[in-house]
Symmetry: C2
DNA sequence: CTAAAACCTATGACCAACTCACAGGTCAAA
DNA sequence: TTTGACCTGTGAGTTGGTCATAGGTTTTAG
């Protein structure tokens, strides 16, 4: 298979195939006549495996490690389980962060409901933002929450 | 104020001050004697404004636009409200995506509960991943969900 | 007075996972 | 034979900083 054939077979961009090849996830054989890369069914399996792993949240270095372990006839399963649990925790942390951002945004929006638009006077840039109380920021000059 | 003084006053990295300066968010005056940048209280206000805006989800180009509008004595408020609503929608889309990823991961974890670790045999890389049914992937070779 | 510490400058690389543009070589069908 | 589709490698762009490097300046301490 040539690059585009492999890419079409896996439903990815040909540039992704070239990128994964540079990253060492695929191992084509080069045709010395025309300098083309030649991929086989094994590469298609590796590519599909890599895409499936990406959808599960694995990074490219992690996928490369898994493939290398499998190439060495060692079971990647324990590593897969371990990495995966860490990734799940990280995803949940990202979700929490984004939900906190969403909470900040919604509280800002509701506070802005009744505020009129202002014209900058050299003292203020935008009251909407400057007068917004960031719940996650430390208190500053003389402002007390109690 | 010099770079580090401004950075300390705003609680950011001095490199962030230099970066924001290159990006046009801060406008220091250069001392021709030693080539140092000199920031004033206005720059501190702009820097604090930028940081607050970042915590609200604004991008640097958006913040620059807001500052430029304010410099022109035009009210940035309508733009702020508009950009903000789009950003909120985007954040909610990102949350949904991450929650879907989390769902995929948890369903994979529970499916892996009873699966034994396997050794690669040249036909399989890692059964955990390869035999995982991606709910968001289109059906492939002969696999039927019904 | 001098030497070291702490600061300043600009430039460029780095992160993640691709995607795209470019310039030049190869191969198929018309 | 001339298109057109494909291949090659390289380098830039994405986002918001952070860090490294090399060299110049200012402050502080001895
Ligand atoms: Zn496995
Ligand atoms: Zn205050
Ligand atoms: Zn405003
Ligand atoms: Zn199948």
């Amino acid at each position: 298979m040539k690059v585009k054939e492999l890419a079409d077979a896996a439903g990815v961009n040909p540039d992704t195939v070239r990128f994964y090849t540079r990253e060492g996830l695929l191992r084509p054989v080069r045709n010395p006549d025309n300098n083309y890369q030649h991929y086989d069914a094994e590469d298609l399996r590796r590519l599909r495996f890599a895409r499936k792993s990406r959808r599960l949240g694995f990074s490219l270095p992690e996928i490369r490690q898994i493939l290398e372990r499998a190439d060495d006839q060692h079971s990647p399963c324990p590593m897969v389980r371990d990495v995966f649990e860490h990734r799940l925790a990280e995803v949940e942390r990202e979700i929490t962060e984004l939900q906190e951002l969403r909470t900040r945004m919604i509280s800002a929006l509701s506070a802005w409901q009744d505020m009129p638009d202002g014209t900058p006077d050299g003292h203020t840039i935008c009251r909407l933002i400057e007068h917004w109380d960031d719940p996650s920021a430390p208190p500053c000059c003389g402002e007390q929450t109690s």
